[in-house]
Structure formats: structure tokens, C-alpha cells
């Protein structure tokens, strides 16, 4: 019981909060929060500073970076202005996120159903091949990506904020996967375009073949 700390709704801390155990913030913290356990930021909670912990559940407002050793989940109604860096990140539809979103390591098995959902969208359905091709490269080093979908993870992720508000996808990783399929769309019209028809000089019916005059 001494491990679970609560910062109540009417409480305001102007300074840093550090330590072990888990923490639930229902009030305001103007400073950094750095704990070894889980951090829950309720809807009324406000943190003006970075939050660092094992697992973060953010439903309030944060003006600072989020770092977690395990996972971060940003609930609907949350506002995060700052970077989100963790091994696993979940951003629910309706959350507002502005900043770098970065996961490390290989994508786990969990996002696969989300990738199938993106496959069913009209954009991705027509070309499953590029989606499959892009995914291994997304997992591998960003430098190895082909020039067409060149943008490295950080730059691509920075355009994520605009997409989070508009896109129906629920997981950040699904959005990362859906984007390559959209980026490869300009190639499709080029593929289905037929080679231009050969230009044939018009020949009137019945006209004798004209003989070329040779200069003598």
C-alpha cells in the first residue's frame, strides 16, 4: 500500500517527483515525474514536464516527453505535446498527440490483426505486395529502405500527428504500416498504363504506295 502513491485532484506540485513504486496523478505536476513503477495520469491530471516509468497510462494532458521501459498507452481525451518513446505504444482514437512517436525493436505478433484490417481498405487491397515488402524493411534499419518510401522512421512518425486525428487506425504501428501502401499508390497508375500506341502515318484507301524518290 505504501507503494501506490496518489497525487490528488486539488494537489499541485511545483517540482520533481521521483522514486519507486507506482503513481497516480489526478492533480497537477509542474516538473518531471520519474518513477520506477507504473504511472497513471487521469483525465483531470496535468503534467508539465516529462514522465518516465515502467508503464504509462495517459488520459490527461502532458506537456513533455513520455518515456517508458515497457509500454505507453494514450487514452481518448488525452493531450500529449512531446515525444513518446517506449517499446510498445498504443494511441487510442481521439487522443491528441504532437511529437515524435518511436517504438524500438521488432514489431510483435499483436499488430498482425491490425495489418490485416489495413489490408481490407481499398488502398491496400489492390496491392498486397508492397505492404508485405515494406513491412520487413520497416522492421529492419530505416537506412535500408528503398528511395521511393525513403523517409526514416522519425520523419515519417512526425507526420503521424496529422494522421492520428483523421485515420481510423487504432495502433501507431498499424498507421506506420498503412502509410507505405499509400506511398506506393502513385506507382500503380504507371503500372497499368499501356504503352503509347504507335504512330502510323495515315494512308488513304486505294492510294498507291508512294515511292520514295532517291536523290541521284
Amino acid at each position: 500500500m505504501a507503494d501506490e502513491s496518489v497525487i490528488g485532484a486539488t494537489t499541485r506540485i511545483r517540482g520533481n517527483v521521483t522514486g519507486s513504486g507506482s503513481l497516480r496523478v489526478e492533480g497537477t505536476v509542474e516538473g518531471d515525474v520519474q518513477v520506477e513503477g507504473d504511472v497513471v495520469l487521469t483525465e483531470a491530471g496535468r503534467v508539465r514536464g516529462s514522465i518516465s516509468g515502467a508503464t504509462l497510462h495517459i488520459a490527461g494532458q502532458v506537456a513533455g516527453d513520455l518515456h517508458a521501459t515497457d509500454s505507453i498507452s494514450v487514452e481518448a481525451g488525452a493531450r500529449v505535446v512531446g515525444d513518446i518513446i517506449a517499446a510498445r505504444i498504443g494511441i487510442v482514437e481521439g487522443a491528441l498527440v504532437r511529437g515524435l512517436v518511436q517504438t524500438d525493436g521488432e514489431p510483435s505478433a499483436a499488430p498482425r490483426p491490425a495489418a490485416k484490417a489495413s489490408r481490407s481498405t481499398p488502398a491496400a487491397a489492390a496491392r498486397p505486395a508492397p505492404v508485405v515488402r515494406e513491412r520487413p524493411s520497416a522492421a529492419a534499419s530505416p537506412a535500408a529502405r528503398t528511395p521511393v518510401t525513403a523517409p526514416p522512421a522519425s520523419r515519417r512518425a512526425q507526420s503521424l500527428p496529422a494522421r492520428t486525428q483523421a485515420s481510423p487506425a487504432t495502433k501507431a504501428e498499424a498507421e506506420v504500416k498503412a502509410k507505405p501502401s499509400e506511398a506506393s499508390e502513385p506507382k500503380a497508375p504507371a503500372r497499368s498504363r499501356k504503352p503509347p500506341a504507335p504512330v502510323v502515318p495515315a494512308v488513304k484507301r486505294g492510294a498507291p504506295a508512294k515511292k520514295k524518290r532517291r536523290a541521284t
Binding site: 507503494d3 496518489v6 490528488g8 486539488t10 494537489t11 506540485i13 520533481n16 520506477e36
Partner: protein, 104 residues
């Protein structure tokens, strides 16, 4: 149920203000200002001036404390600092060093 609980491993460096009950089992350094009851648990350490409605000390408090109602220093508690309250109890076994002003 207390509104704000500073758990045993937690450390707050800075100003802490609240309108609800505060229980400190960890460490608070800076200032602590509340309009309700403040309790410092046996493992709690407060190195700050405390302003509260009522204060109960079972841990270590270093700083001047002012309460609008009462201050109780429990057995095993240590208070080093000036006390300003209308009512005051210092239990047998408590440790206290400072001035007392009960002129409310």
C-alpha cells in the same frame, strides 16, 4: 481515504499545495501547504515548512510548522522547528526541538 498519498519510495522536491488530506510516507523537500489535515507517517520525512489545518507527526519533520487547528507529535515522531498552533500535543517518546507559539 486520503486524497494525496506520497508513498514510501516517492520523493517530492519542490512546492506541494493541496486542498485535501495529505499523507506522507515518503520524502517531501521544499514547502508543504495544505488547507486540510497533513499526516506524516512513521517512515515519512518532511524537510519543509508545513502549513496545514491540522498536522500529525509520526515521522521526521524538519521545518517550521503552522496549523490553524492543532498539531500532534506522536511517539516516535521527531519535529525540529518552530510550532505555531492553537492546540498542541507532544506524546511521551516524541522528540521535539523548537519554539512553541500557541497564541492564536
Amino acid at each position: 481515504m486520503a486524497g494525496t498519498v506520497i508513498g514510501e519510495g516517492l520523493s517530492v522536491d519542490g512546492e506541494l499545495t493541496s486542498d485535501e488530506e495529505i499523507v506522507v510516507h515518503g520524502t517531501v523537500r521544499g514547502t508543504l501547504s495544505a488547507t486540510d489535515v497533513v499526516s506524516v507517517g512513521t517512515e515519512g520525512t518532511v524537510e519543509a515548512n508545513i502549513q496545514a489545518a491540522a498536522l500529525s507527526v509520526a515521522g521526521r519533520v524538519t521545518g517550521n510548522v503552522t496549523a490553524t487547528e492543532r498539531i500532534d507529535i506522536q511517539a516516535g515522531g521527531r519535529l525540529i522547528g518552530d510550532v505555531k498552533a492553537a492546540r498542541l500535543t507532544i506524546a511521551d517518546g516524541a522528540s521535539f526541538k523548537g519554539n512553541v507559539d500557541m497564541d492564536a
